[in-house]
């Protein structure tokens, strides 16, 4: 084996040792390979007195913060998560506005029948409970809740009203209004930027809403 082959073989075995493998027993120069293994094992880093303090110092530097931020954004999954979060934050107000657009004919009926488990019932079943005259006229909600200008209110921008607790964990919206006396009872006048309307408070009979049937 000439020197060139010896050197090639030595370096091949050395690479194996440096990658954590054992030194091959057939090494053409066992003494040199033994020394190379010793050098590969040697670690002087225990002498260092700055390993921890240097890390802390570098992390505290402004450049360290910027580098951490930059390397964080270099990660593709973090970038995708941030993009998704920004998208959600951007679209959230739109989504909230959309859910606020309740169909005009449903909202008054739901408000007037709080004890009826109506959400699971089809719309036709709820309408059929109205007096026959009202149902036939096709103006089911309009006559009962004529004071609430739903059409105009829906065109108004959604506002953030303060939310309070109505007890037992139920949230209610607080809105300022002016109480007035009406012919058949009382009412509260609410003013918005686009409309002024009165919520009437009066006694109604079940027949005003329900059709009574005798079985």
């Amino acid at each position: 084996m000439n020197e060139s082959e010896l050197i090639e073989e030595f370096n091949r075995e050395l690479d194996s040792v440096l990658q954590g493998g054992p030194a091959a027993p057939f090494s053409p120069d066992p003494g040199a390979m033994e020394l190379a293994s010793c050098i590969a094992r040697a670690d002087f880093s225990e002498e260092s007195l700055i390993k921890e303090s240097l890390r802390d110092r570098l992390a505290a530097e402004p450049a360290g913060f910027l580098v951490s931020l930059r390397s964080l954004f270099a990660n593709n999954s973090v970038r995708a998560a941030m993009a998704a979060a920004v998208l959600v934050i951007t679209l959230l107000p739109l989504a909230r506005r959309h859910t606020g657009c309740v169909p005009e004919t449903q909202a008054p009926v739901m408000a007037a029948l709080p004890q009826v488990p109506s959400p699971l019932l089809p719309v036709r079943a709820r309408v059929s409970r109205l007096p026959a005259a009202l149902a036939a006229s096709g103006a089911a909600g309009e006559e009962l809740f004529a004071a609430v200008p739903m059409g105009r209110l829906e065109t108004e921008p959604i506002k953030a009203f303060p939310i309070a607790s109505a007890g037992s964990g139920s949230p209610i919206v607080l809105a300022a209004g002016r109480e007035v006396k009406l012919e058949n009872g009382s009412g509260i006048v609410l003013e918005t930027e686009g409309a002024v309307f009165t919520l009437e408070r009066r006694v109604i009979a079940p027949e005003d809403i329900f059709e009574r049937r005798v079985i």
Partner: protein, 166 residues
């Protein structure tokens, strides 16, 4: 990879590389600190597509060691070999050598090499880079790196054999 991950993964390797060149542990700490400060400043310029991070980091380390050697020569300070001898007189170093006589002998043997062989040995055994990567970094041919590694190890072997005879 974040800077902190790189720091934790490569601090010991960089320190060992520096230690092969710099005689005193305190000075090795100083040079290692400068290396990681420079790495932090330039971490944004590292491009993973251009090569593994250890090549980039050890490029910085190599420049820092060269700067340190130039400054030392300019100040007319002791040579590496002499510094190696002096290191043994430092109380802390003595304690380490008692526990790690082998490591101390290795440092002595490395200090006895010429500057280029010492650099190749330090890179080969500290950085985890291949002969090809070392060749690219140092500008020496790959086969010459292999020859330098083998001959340096043989020279150290002879040095240590002579030391044992004494």
């Amino acid at each position: 990879m974040t800077f902190n991950e790189m720091y934790d993964r490569y601090f010991n390797k960089v320190y060992n590389y520096v230690r092969y060149h710099v005689g005193l542990p305190a000075e090795a700490d100083d040079v290692t600190g400068r290396i990681f400060e420079a790495a932090l400043r330039n971490f944004g310029t590292y491009d993973a597509g251009r090569g593994p991070v250890q090549g980039w980091l050890f490029g910085i380390a190599r420049n820092a060691v060269i700067d340190w050697a130039r400054a030392r020569n300019h100040r007319g300070e002791v040579s590496l070999e002499d510094a190696g001898e002096q290191a043994g007189t430092e109380p802390r170093m003595e304690a380490i050598l008692e526990r790690k006589e082998e490591a101390g002998l290795i440092l002595e043997a490395v200090a006895g090499l010429d500057e280029r062989s010492r650099d190749i040995i330090a890179l080969k055994f500290s950085s985890g880079m291949t002969n090809r990567e070392i060749a690219l970094m140092t500008g020496i041919g790959e086969s010459n790196v292999s020859i330098l590694v083998y001959r340096a190890v043989k020279k150290m072997q002879t040095f240590l054999a002579d030391k044992r005879k004494l």
